[in-house]
């Protein structure tokens, strides 16, 4: 195995190791980890067996096979960006709907508070009225 092959395979291994560590430490969810581990494995195999590249180039009719991994990498990045955009949009929609729901709940809370204040002031009013009546009775009782 030549030096570039060892370096290529090592890069794949390091990526795999980092992904493993990220999942282990809960920095990445396992669903995303599977995708990244697949990429790490592909990098490792591609580095270890560069002849695959020439075979693939021959099969696809590409006269300069080293461009294949570059093209694949760019394609993968574009797809990843697209997926990222879709997920960001979904998150944005969820946040906006939560903001809307919060607005509705806040209005409900405001109405309930107003109702509560109204009923408590009514109760206080009744109690005060009762006290006034009682004291009037007392006054009447004292009067000869």
């Amino acid at each position: 195995m030549s030096s570039p092959q060892i370096i290529g395979a090592t890069i794949g291994l390091i990526i795999g190791g980092i992904i493993f560590w990220l999942i282990r430490r809960d920095h990445m969810i396992s669903r995303d980890g599977v995708r990244w581990l697949f990429i790490a494995a592909a990098t490792m195999l591609y580095g270890a067996f560069p002849g695959v590249n020439d075979l693939l180039g021959q099969f696809l009719g590409i006269s300069y096979p080293p461009i294949i991994p570059v093209l694949l990498g760019l394609g993968a990045i574009l797809i990843k960006l697209l997926i990222g955009d879709i997920e960001r949009m979904k998150t944005r929609i969820d946040i906006e709907r939560v903001v809307q729901r919060m607005a509705m709940l806040e209005a409900q809370l405001h109405q309930l508070k107003a109702k509560e204040e109204q009923s408590s002031s009514d109760t206080t009013g009744d109690a005060n009225q009762g006290r006034v009546k009682q004291s009037q009775n007392n006054v009447t009782a004292i009067k000869p």
Binding site: M89, I93, E96, R97, V99, Q100, R101, M102, A103, M104, E106, A107, H110, Q111
Partner: protein
């Protein structure tokens, strides 16, 4: 179509100078409940609206006029109103013109759009014509926010799919069309905006952005979707 229990939905952002007059006029002339969606105002819009008897739905951050309107729609749907009238808070829409919307709804349509073609410059009219041509929607004043929606339309516009729209314009109408809801346009009078300026037509950049966004919506939705899996999301 009778509308005994309609909700007037008013999205508002920093409209403290105009909202009071609008709410007083509405209260004096119509028996409808009014909800004001405070879309992240930094002035007294919410306090003034509450003081005038409106229910205020406060957004913790500004989401834009359409999302604010949708908050009102969701509220109306939750509270079982029969329909919604949407109005701007900037003094452009005249409360007495609600009668025209109510008359338009008598024929049993799902949505009535209050149209005022005398507003807007030549460029805006060219844009409207272009979008109408591409989308096949037969509404002349596509950006009018003075509309009446019945319960079926409110239900559709309360969904997550409608949250993905950016403006209360063609996207809303195209969505309603794909669900076979009927749309009618009636002529109404509108005043000049008293304060502020249009959020869509306020700079060349926003005009270009609006044209691109709405143009794309027109192109992608020009042929109504008939996919059952898609339509099921609304029922």
């Amino acid at each position: 179509m009778a509308h005994p229990n309609l909700l007037v939905v008013i999205p508002a952002k920093d409209e403290a100078q105009t909202i009071a007059k609008l709410l007083v006029q509405l209260k004096q002339n119509y028996p409808f409940d009014v909800v004001v969606i405070d879309d992240g105002s930094i002035d007294d819009t919410a306090a003034i609206a509450r003081a005038h008897g409106a229910v205020v739905l406060p957004h913790v951050r500004a989401l834009g006029a359409w999302k604010a309107t949708q908050t009102g729609m969701r509220y109306a749907y939750k509270k079982q109103y029969d329909g919604v009238i949407t109005m701007d808070a900037d003094g452009q829409h005249i409360p007495s013109q609600i009668d025209q919307l109510l008359d338009g709804a008598k024929s049993g349509v799902d949505v009535v759009v209050g149209s005022c073609l005398s507003r807007g410059d030549a460029m805006r009219h060219v844009a409207w014509r272009f979008f109408r041509l591409v989308s096949g929607i037969n509404v002349k004043d596509i950006t009018s926010g003075f509309r009446l929606y019945n319960l079926a339309a409110v239900r559709v516009l309360s969904t997550k799919e409608a949250t993905m729209l950016e403006f209360q314009d063609l996207g809303v109408l195209l969505l309603l069309r794909s669900l076979n809801l009927s749309i009618k346009e009636v002529d109404v009078q509108m005043d000049e905006r008293l304060i502020g300026k249009s959020r869509i037509f306020n700079s060349w950049f926003s005009v270009m952005s609006y044209m691109a966004t709405t143009g794309l919506v027109c192109l992608t939705k020009a042929i109504p979707l008939r996919d059952v899996r898609y339509l099921k999301r609304f029922y």
